[in-house]
Every structure is written in structure tokens, then in C-alpha cells.
Amino acid sequence: MEKLLTRNISNGQRVDIHSYEKAGGYEGLRKALKLSPQEITETIKKSNLRGRGGAGFPTGLKWSFVPMGPDAPRPKYLIANADEMEPGTFKDRLILERDPHQLIEGMIVASYAIQADVAYVFVRGEYVAAAGEASRAIAEAHDRHYLGKNVLGSGYSLEIYVHKSVGRYMCGEETGLLNALEGRRANPRAKPPFPQTSGLWGKPTIVNNVETLANIHHIVSRGPDWFKSLSRGKDSGTKLYGASGKVKRPGLWELPMGTTIREILEEHAGGMRDGVRFRGLLPGGASTDFLVAQHLDVPMGFDELQQHGSRLGTGTMIVLDDQTCPVGMVWNLEHFFAQESCGWCTPCWSGLAWAEKVLKAMEFGQGQEGDLEKLESICRFVAPGNTFCALAPGAAEPLQSALKYFREDFERHIREKRCPWRK
């Protein structure tokens, strides 16, 4: 299978500008600069590239909402969302640390397509190495006139800056990120207006995930049809799939879109470790619904997973085994989400805090009759639309699905007044 994103990554070394160029790097940019911004956006639209950050919104469509032409408000911004804080997710980190030019080249092409004047890499605070590599790549690109004034003599100018986040989950939410970048509380913003028209500092802004951007120059350079042909499912291209948990070989693999869960789990991750049995998995990070054995042959694609009540999310699965308490696992996740609530809307800050306390009580033998119904009602309380942003609905996904697939385990906690997994 042909790889795009990880094709240069072979060992623990970082791909520097020389080896990146040698492997055909920045050819996509040269090609892009010969096209009009509209042509690039059209190409991306045709390629059916969908956002790799979790929501799967069509990238070209997103770009097409940016006001273009001489009357468009300036400056315009492009932001690479590298605030990878989704539990169990480490895919963008690979690109940033090992082959950062994949991101930088994609960002320059994307910026050119929306005629952005300034771009930012908004990188998770704990990703110290990633921030360093991105900065180095930007400097290297600058030296070779891929960046700065008059990029490769095209007349187009762009600066990219690295911004290190302070490390809150909300900073990765599209509009929370914009507020954080402006130096405000990372509260989400109401949509509409969408960032494409009123984003960073009130100006047209595109926020794309790192992995999404790393695809752009490949699509421009080799065409949408080629990109579509890489996939095995309805979606286009390849995907960085990952697996963590008690599997034999936890890791990250670039595979065709639509690879089945079973193939990732059994072939690439090597199946479950000896002595433990598979119970379920969160397919795309902590904020996706559990899937269980019956779903193993479902392709890991946006629509396919949605049909089975879950989401592709970031495509990096967390695997639950039979030696691990599902209640404890969900408690851990809800602790994270409650902790990371920005405190803006009532259902989120009050609902998640309550859910976390109920789960903790159960895990420590203080569960009560009615707790499961309470947890279910909190999941309904924080349903999409009831809250201001997607954090709380995302937090409800592992909880509501755990209640569905592992209900007996929850009931045992209450009945036995203890966690059966704790010695």
C-alpha cells in the first residue's frame, strides 16, 4: 500500500529538510503555486478529504466558506490544530516529531488556498519535542523561501508561528483554541458566526487538524482521484490508525481509510496480550462510544462507525480487556472530562462533575440503587445541542455505551458494594 503521511518515516530519526526534499518534498507546493487558490480548494473538495481531528467535516467545503477576493477582510489566518489532548491519541505527534515538513508544506498550500497571511501551529503544551521540531522546520522552510515574503517568487507571502498551548483539553476545540490563541479563557464560541468568517481576532480563519493538513500537498500534487483510490471504504485517502491498551503491539500505522477494526487490532496490533481477553474498544479516542466483539468487522470509516453508534474520532483506539474494570475505566475518563470542562455551560460543568462522583462512588463500593438511571439521565442532559460545545456530548459517549454493553458490571458494583476487579 502506498503511504503519504509516514512515507519518509522509517526509523527514530527526524526527517530533515534535505531528506524531505530528496523524497520529493515541497514539489506539491511548487505545483500549488502555479494553480489559483480556487483551483486548490476545488481539488480538495473533489478529493473528499474529511477532517482528521475527529469531526470529519469535509475540508474543501470548510475552506470554501472563507471570503475571497480583494474585498475579503484581512489578515486571514490558517491554524494547524496540534493540541492533541484526546486521551489515547498520539497520531499528530508522530508527524510533528518525525516529519514536520509534511505539516509545514501542507499548511503553506492550505494557506495559499485561502490566501491566509499568517498561520499558526497551535501545539499542545506537553509536546515539547514536537514544538521544537515544528519551529525548526519552519526555520528551514524559511531559509529556502518556502515561507516568508514572496514564497518561491510567487508573490504570495506567509509567516507561520508556533504557539505552545497551556495544556487544556478545551484548547483543542476549534473556537476554544481561537480564544486561547487570543490570550483569553479557552471557552468555546457560539456558532454561527463560524471561524471561516469571524475567527481569530474576528478575521476569517481556518482551523485544521495536523493530519488533515499533512494530506493537502499530496492531493494537490497527485490529484483527487489518486487520493480517493487509496481508500478501502467510502472515505478517501489513508488514515493514521492507532491502538493502545493490553494489545501485543500498541502503535500507530498509516493504513487505507476503511480498514476494519479486526485488521488493525489483530494484524497490526497483534491481538490481545496472552492471558487477557478482548471486551471492547473506544475506536477514536476517549470521546467515542464503545464498540464490542460484534463490531470487529466494521471498517474504521466516518459513516461506517456512525452507523454502529460510534465515531471514527481520531482513529486511535483504546482497547478494554477483561482484566480491567470498565467502571474504573469510565470513571477515569469522566474524571478527565469533568476536569477539563471549561465551566461555561451548566449541563457540562454540573453534569460531568456529578457523573464523575457517581462513578467514583461505585468504584469504591458506595454505589446506590438508582445510580445507573442517574448516569443515563446525565448522558441525556448533556446531549448534543443541550450544551454549548461538543465536550460534554463527547464525554457522554463512552459512558452511555459502557452502560449499554457492560451494564452487568455496573450492577455488580452496586450489588456487591465493591469493585470486583479490586483485590
Binding site: A190, S198, G202, G385
Partner: protein
């Protein structure tokens, strides 16, 4: 108009509004927290959820937040929908997880919006069984008490404080269910609008710290419609009393004047009413001192002094009601009636009125100021003399944001989106003042100069706008460029506004402001012109007309009079001390009526206790020329009367014909109307005392007023008759018909299910945030002449020239301390500035003094020792002295003074 359907019923509504706004306007009880009519929607609390349906066939629908959804044509929603109702109840349940449920000991109890919404949503059972988060509270100063455990995280406090009022030292800290609303450390809140937190907070996090010292529940307060007496804007207030003590002031919504908010001087100045410096008994001079006497003795003494005496002059006051001033004028005769204002200020106020009458620019209301799109403030520190106007100016600079939002099709009520799109786009606001002001942070340009240079700038702006306006010669290029910039901004605006006032003691400044407004009108702009007035009835007294105070002094000096009656005025604030002393000493008889002790009374032969605003009825005219009525909040002890009543009672006993039929306030007003056409409409400011809604008076006491039968039980177990109110259609009782009260008679805001002041207000508005149902109170007495053809003023002063060894003394006003009455309130006094003299940095260096050096200051015949305050804003050759502080005689008067090192 859009047609929407609420629970199946069709309504025509404004499509530019959101669903919450229109539902409340339609009278529906839809719960909410974070939304505020003046601050718009942010979608934080999720309390106003309703069910929206795609069309008639849609049976499922989905939950939406009413505040975040436009009232688009064809919208179908249900408030009653069980799922929506259950969700709203769950929101309260969530908020209540950590709430301490301490209503019995909470000051908000009884007027708590959280209580109301809890009841309205039906949440009544606490299922949360875990520990609550707790916070450490902060000391926030003498105005606001902090109790964070009660917080429900609606964000209204920081939105008001930071975004609406421009404060910087209150913020939201931390996250999750642990957000802390406070300062970075304990300390006095810096914003002069901090008191509004008390009303904006829907529960008991921020409560009135002054009320706490003499706490009474809202339902136990006796309240009346009142007018703030601490500046000339005439904000409407709702003071509350119990057991003869004034307990607090709350905002009384007025669509055109104060809207939803008050300044801290207006909110907390009330405690002067309870001050130890109140005069509560008549006093007569005896053996070099004063002795308290009964009212009969006092009236007899009055009779002895005044009866048949033809050598009486009267001095009225800009802080006394029209009625009291008019009664005095009637007593002494128009030609012997003088204004208790400094001659400078009186002349300036008359000039302002003349300009406003002549037009063509119209006086804007505070609400209109909020939508002016270019503002030029000339010579007046609005933020300290008329603070509530400064809050309106803070909204006016948002006009470009609004236009930008409209362009981006962002609804104007979507508050954070509008602010985000606009960023720092802020409207032109030019401040030209002698020294720094509290609005400098939002000024497009600020210009600090001596009054003459300010006037020259103004004249220059007018000339740029209209070459027919006189030209200013010898202008520096800097100032000429500034004039062009200001003229460009004003001339390019749709609704330009010019503001000035008597703060600089300069005719030229006021005339220059008039020229600018005139030139804008000549250029076809709908310009408005606003002058501030420093006291609550400066305009009313000046409209009435009186002699200048200097002429009163002369009358005594020349011997044409020997008896002086002063109504509610301390002459030591009006003229240099030596002149005042000479005047008071030379009076054979001096009668003073006032509510508070002042230096003037020390010279009086007879002192009569006058009622404060809380104990009196009367009419005040604000800077907009709006006559507004204030009503007695509580009947004072029988020794305290309105000044007009003292005079009326005396004249009736004396058999004077003019006042023979003065039985109550309306009779005085009727006499006033007959005598003074300019003030004739003042009587229409409120319904007559004889008017009734449903045959009943309006009760001052809420329906839940407690203890009525036991109130005087320690004196007599029989319940006494409620005191009779002769002067207004309000009763000192809980009986009556509150719902029928027309706006000028609304003593408090309270509606079934809506016990809080701010949130019940929409129930009295024709639509949310609009005029009160029945019209906003007051009548405007000054309107520009139609087809005004006012000539330009051409008295352009020469440029200011510093003098060797002398400084031009300018009064610097302070919101806390400069105003006479509020300075007696302990909370205000705590924040009042200490006396100082502000010198330019270079002047101070030349003089060889540094900050806090004590120097001797000689002004207007007085001397004071003041500490130096170094300012880089104040121009060279000019020195600033705080206005109205005790111990600085003659401050507030312009003039050259000396500063000597000690």
C-alpha cells in the same frame, strides 16, 4: 414583523430579536440566568431551553436555547413541552449541586432570581449526595459583599463588570464546576459601577455591603419612586426604609435615563440620610450656641423674624426641589430670590439652558447617548461629575462594532460574537479635559489643556465643520490637526454628540461646544448636545430664575436687606469663605432650612430641619431638562418637614394670600405653573395626589410586608392608623393596588414569580428593554426652537499662558468625595480622595517638590495645606484641586493661586 408560534398560538414579533427576548416581551414566564436585556445573549446557563419544531407536522422537535435563536418568521416553539420543562428543571438541579442552600441567612433571599427560577422550573428535590465545592471569599471594599459558595456560574458579573462597564479587576478564574469570580487578590473593586453586581448577580454572591449593616428583606422594606440626588442626571431609584432607617437604594428602571444601572455614588450615597450630621429638631440660637426646640417654638420664632419684615432675601439651592425653591421665592418675592450656586456656575448653567433652548441641537437622553456614533467631550470630566453618563459613553463607542456585526450578519444581541468580530473597533470618542478622567482608557484621542485651550480646540473644530463659524487664529499645527480629526469623525457620523458642562468654569468652553453642535447641524447632521449639571436641581433652579449670589451679598452690604432665609444650601461651597462669613455675620436674622449640618448653619438664628429626598416629595429637573418627581419613602418624625412645607405652613399662619390654598405638593406645583411658564409642565411629571388606580392608592409596602401589627407594639398594642400621605397617590401601607401603578408611581419592581428587581422589570416594560408601559416618567421642559437660526459664538479666548509663580487652579471632580451629600455616607467617605494639589511633573520639579510633599496653597482668599500629587496629564501652569472636599475653601472656583513650599 415575523410570525412565530408559541405552544400553537401565533404572535407577531420583531425578527431582529431572539426568542427569549420576544417570549418575555409577550409576557411568557421563561426562566433564564445569563442573558440580560442590556447585555445580550451568550448561551452559558442553558436555562431558557424550549422545544423547536421544524413545521406543523414535526411532533418530535429538538431542544434549543431561546436566547441563542433568532425569532425568525415561521418559528414554532413550545415552552410547555415536557422535555423542555424537564431540561430546565435539570439545569437548576445542576446549579444546585454546589449551592449552599443558605437562603435563610442570605441577603438575597426574597428577591433572589435563583429562588424564583428554582420555583418556576419546579425543581424541589435534592438528589445530589456528594460534597460541595467551597471557596474562600474576598474583601471587595465597602460596597460589595462576596460569598462565592452561592455562585451558579452564569458569568453575568464579569460580563457586566468587564465588558459592559470597562472594569479590569474582576475576572473568572479556574474552570469546571470550580470557576471563581473575584479579584486577583482581596481589595476594593476599582470600577465605579461595582454596585450593579449586586443586582446583576442572580443570587447572593455579590450583595450590598451597606445594606448588610442594617439588613432588611425586600419584602419588609417600605419603598417609593425616587430620584437620585447626587448629580444632575436624575437617575430613577427605589430606596427602601424600615424603622426610620434608610436601608438601601436599588435601581428603578427608566427606559431613557438610567436604564438598568446606577453608579456607586448614586447607589451608596443614601446613608447620609441616616447620618449623625442630620438636623432632626428645630434649633434656635441661644447663648452663642443652638438649642433644640419644638415645632411650635420654631414657627413662632419664624413668625417673629419674618412677619411684616420687608427686608428679607432668600437663597435657593440647586439641591432643593422646585417646590422648596418656589416656596422660598414666593415667601421673599421673585426680586429678592437668589441662587445658592457659585456665580460662575449659575452663569454657566443659564448659558447652557439658553444654548439648548436656542437649538438647533437637541438634548439626548442617556439611552440616546448609547447609540451616538461619534462623541466629543469638551471640558467636562463626565466620569466624575455625571458617572452614569460615562457608562452610556462606554456603550456608544461600540457603534462601529454594531455596524461591523450587521455587515457580517451577526445578530446584535449575540454579544460575544459581536465583540469577537469587532475586536478593538471602537467608536470615535474624543476627550478634551484639563486632566485625566476615568474614560481615558477608551478615548480615541485625549487632549489635556487649560480651559482656554480647550475652548480654542472646540472653536477650531466648529470652524472646520462650517467655515462660517469663527476661525481660531494662531493655532499650533498639532491642535489644528486634532481639530481636523475630531471634525472629520463628527462630520462623518450619523448621530454625532457633543458633551460639555460647567466643570471648567469657562463660558468659552460651553460656547465652543455649542458652536460645534451648531456647525454639525448646519452640515445636515442630526447632532445632539448634552451639558452636564453638577447637582440634582441645578437646571430646575436656573430655569426658575434667581439673582446671582453675589447680588445677594451686595444687597446685605448695601443695606437693602437684613434678613436671610437659606433653603438647603451651604454657602461655603458657593463662594470664598471670607465673603460668606462677612455676609452671614452681617445678616440681622438668618434662617436656614436644611437636612444636614453645615458650616452655614453655625451662623443661623433659626435652623429648621428639612426632609431629605427620602422624607420629602418634590420635583427635580435633570440635565436633560426632564422634570421628575420623587416621593417620600417614609414619613419622618413630625419635626422634619419639606422646606416648602415649612414655608407654606408659616405663610398660611401669617395669612399670606399667595399660599392660602397650598394644602399639598400639587397646590404648590399649580401655583408654580401659574407663575413660571417655563416650569409649567413640571406638575405633569407624575399623577396628582388625588389620582387613583382602581380607587386605591399605590402601596409603598410590598404585599409580604411583615410585622405591621407589631411594629409599634412596644408603644401601644393597638395598631395605629397608617400615616396619611397628602402629597402623592401612594400609601404608607401594604394596602392598595400596585399593579395599576403608572410608571412615575412604581415604588419597586416586583411581579408574581419574579421577585428580583432586575428580572421583574420586563413585566413593567412595553417590550423588554423598552419604555415602561404607560411611558417613561418625567416631562422634558427644554426643547430647541423649531427652525433655529442661532448665530455662532465668537468669543474665542487667547491661548493659555502660564504665569510666573502662579497657577491656574482648576477644580477636579471626584465621584467619591466631591458631592456634598453622598460624602456623608460612610461607604463613600471611605473611598473619598484625601485633599491634594495636582501639579504637572515639570512644574513640580521647578518648584522643587515631589509627590506627597506638603505645600501651602493660596486660592480665592483661602489657604490650605495640601499634599502634592504629580500628574503628567495636567498642563503646565495649571494646578488641580479636588472639588468639594472639606478643608479646601474656595475650591471649585476658578482663579489663579499660589503654591508655596513649606
Amino acid at each position: 414583523m415575523a410570525r412565530i408560534y408559541v405552544d400553537g398560538r401565533p404572535f407577531n414579533v420583531d425578527p431582529k430579536q431572539n426568542l427569549l427576548h420576544v417570549c418575555l416581551s409577550l409576557g411568557f414566564d421563561l426562566p433564564y440566568f445569563c442573558w440580560h436585556p442590556a447585555m445580550g445573549s451568550v448561551g452559558a446557563c442553558r436555562q431558557c431551553a424550549v422545544k423547536q419544531f421544524k413545521d406543523e407536522q414535526d411532533a418530535g422537535g429538538k431542544l434549543i436555547m431561546a436566547c441563542m435563536t433568532p425569532a425568525a418568521d415561521g418559528t414554532r416553539i413550545s415552552i410547555k413541552d415536557p422535555e423542555a420543562a424537564a431540561f430546565r428543571s435539570s439545569i437548576i438541579q445542576g446549579m444546585m449541586e454546589n449551592h449552599p442552600h443558605d437562603c435563610p441567612v442570605c441577603d438575597e433571599g426574597g428577591e433572589c432570581h435563583l429562588q424564583d427560577m428554582t420555583y418556576m422550573t419546579g425543581h424541589d428535590y435534592r438528589a445530589y449526595r456528594f460534597g460541595k465545592r467551597t471557596f474562600r471569599n474576598q474583601y471587595l471594599g465597602p460596597f460589595v459583599n462576596h460569598e462565592m459558595n452561592r455562585c451558579i456560574q452564569c458569568y453575568r458579573c464579569v460580563r457586566f463588570y468587564r465588558e459592559y462597564a470597562g472594569g479590569r479587576d474582576l475576572n473568572a478564574y479556574a474552570m469546571r464546576d470550580n470557576v471563581y469570580f473575584g479579584r486577583h487578590e482581596d481589595g476594593v473593586l476599582e470600577s465605579e459601577f461595582s454596585g450593579n453586581l449586586v443586582e446583576v448577580c442572580p443570587t447572593g454572591v455579590f450583595t450590598d455591603a451597606t445594606l448588610k449593616r442594617h439588613y432588611t428583606r425586600k419584602w419588609d422594606l417600605q419603598m417609593a419612586p425616587s430620584i437620585c440626588v447626587h448629580c444632575g442626571l436624575g437617575c430613577n431609584t427605589s430606596p427602601g426604609e424600615r424603622y426610620g432607617v434608610l436601608r438601601r437604594i436599588y435601581n428603578r428602571y427608566h427606559g431613557e435615563v438610567n436604564g438598568w444601572f446606577l453608579c456607586d455614588r448614586g447607589r451608596y450615597g443614601y446613608e447620609f440620610v441616616n447620618s449623625e450630621r442630620r438636623i432632626r429638631k428645630p434649633r434656635v440660637r441661644l447663648n452663642g450656641g443652638h438649642e433644640a426646640v419644638g415645632e411650635d417654638t420654631a414657627l413662632r420664632r419664624m413668625h417673629a423674624i419674618l412677619s411684616g419684615n420687608r427686608r428679607i432675601i432668600g437663597i435657593g439651592s440647586p439641591r432643593a426641589s422646585l417646590e422648596s425653591n418656589f416656596a422660598l421665592r414666593t415667601l421673599v418675592g421673585a426680586e429678592h430670590f437668589y441662587a445658592g450656586m457659585s456665580d460662575d456656575e449659575y452663569r454657566l448653567v443659564k448659558l447652557m439652558i439658553e444654548i439648548l433652548r436656542r437649538g438647533p441641537a437637541r438634548i439626548p437622553t442617556l439611552r440616546e447617548i448609547e447609540i451616538c456614533d461619534a462623541v466629543f467631550v469638551l471640558g467636562e470630566d463626565v466620569s466624575n461629575t455625571s458617572p452614569r453618563m460615562a457608562l452610556s459613553l462606554r456603550q456608544s463607542i461600540r457603534q462601529p462594532s454594531m455596524r461591523l456585526a450587521e455587515k457580517l450578519r451577526i445578530p446584535l444581541w449575540l454579544d460575544h460574537a459581536v465583540r469577537e468580530a469587532a475586536q478593538d473597533a471602537s467608536g470615535p470618542l474624543f476627550l478634551a479635559t484639563p486632566a485625566a478622567t476615568r474614560l481615558d482608557d477608551i478615548a480615541t484621542r485625549k487632549f489635556h489643556a487649560a480651559a482656554d485651550d480647550l475652548a480654542r480646540l472646540g472653536f477650531a473644530v466648529a470652524h472646520v465643520l462650517d467655515p462660517r463659524a469663527p476661525e481660531v487664529g494662531g493655532l499650533s499645527e498639532d491642535i489644528a490637526a486634532l481639530a481636523r480629526q475630531i471634525a472629520g469623525a463628527l462630520g462623518g457620523a450619523e448621530r454625532p454628540l457633543v458633551i460639555s458642562g460647567p466643570g471648567c468654569n469657562s463660558d468659552a468652553v460651553i460656547q465652543a461646544a455649542a458652536n460645534v453642535a451648531r456647525a454639525l447641524c448646519a452640515a445636515g447632521r442630526k447632532a445632539s448636545l448634552s451639558f452636564t449639571a453638577h447637582e440634582c436641581n441645578s437646571i430646575g433652579l436656573s430655569l426658575m430664575g434667581a439673582g446671582e449670589l453675589g447680588l445677594a451679598f451686595r444687597a446685605l452690604r448695601e443695606g437693602s436687606a437684613d434678613t436671610v432665609v437659606i433653603v438647603e444650601d451651604d454657602l461655603f461651597r458657593r463662594a470664598p469663605a471670607d465673603e460668606v462669613v462677612e455676609f452671614l455675620r452681617s445678616a440681622r436674622h438668618l434662617i436656614v432650612m436644611d437636612s444636614i449640618l453645615s458650616q452655614t448653619q453655625a451662623y443661623a438664628e433659626l435652623v429648621l430641619p428639612a426632609g431629605t429626598f427620602a422624607e420629602a416629595d418634590g420635583t427635580l429637573v435633570n440635565n436633560e431638562g426632564r422634570a421628575q418627581r420623587f416621593f417620600q419613602v417614609f414619613p419622618p418624625s413630625p419635626d422634619i418637614r419639606e422646606s416648602w412645607r415649612w414655608i407654606g405652613d408659616y405663610m398660611r399662619e401669617d395669612g399670606r394670600r399667595e399660599s392660602a390654598d397650598w394644602r399639598n405638593l400639587d397646590d404648590v406645583l399649580a401655583a408654580l405653573a401659574a407663575e413660571l411658564p417655563a416650569l409649567a409642565h413640571a406638575i405633569a411629571a407624575a399623577p396628582l395626589a388625588s389620582s387613583r388606580g382602581r380607587y386605591q392608592k399605590v402601596p409603598r409596602e410590598p404585599h409580604r410586608y411583615s410585622g405591621r401589627t407589631a411594629y409599634y407594639a412596644n408603644i401601644n398594642v393597638s395598631e395605629p392608623r397608617p400615616p396619611l400621605d397628602l402629597d402623592g397617590p401612594l400609601s404608607f401601607s401594604m394596602e392598595g393596588w400596585p399593579a395599576a401603578a403608572p410608571p412615575p408611581l412604581l415604588p419597586f419592581s416586583w411581579a408574581p414569580g419574579w421577585n428580583s428587581n432586575q428580572q421583574s422589570a420586563p413585566k413593567f416594560q412595553s417590550e423588554v428593554n423598552g419604555p415602561l408601559r404607560g411611558g417613561d416618567p418625567g416631562v422634558r421642559l427644554i426643547e430647541p426652537e423649531a427652525n433655529a437660526k442661532a448665530p455662532y459664538f465668537n468669543g474665542i479666548p487667547d491661548a493659555f499662558g502660564p504665569r510666573q509663580g502662579e497657577w491656574l487652579m482648576v477644580p477636579l471632580h471626584h465621584i467619591f468625595g466631591s458631592e456634598e451629600l453622598s460624602a456623608l455616607a460612610p461607604a463613600i467617605a471611605e473611598l473619598a480622595v484625601k485633599p491634594y494639589i495636582a501639579l504637572n511633573r515639570d512644574d513640580a520639579a521647578e518648584l522643587g517638590v515631589v509627590a506627597a510633599t506638603e505645600v501651602e496653597v493660596l486660592i480665592n482668599g483661602g489657604a490650605a495645606r495640601l499634599r502634592v500629587s504629580i500628574s503628567s496629564d495636567i498642563p503646565r501652569g495649571v494646578a488641580g484641586v479636588p472639588m468639594g472636599l472639606p478643608g479646601i475653601s474656595g475650591a471649585g472656583l476658578s482663579g489663579w493661586g499660589r503654591v508655596k513650599r513649606i
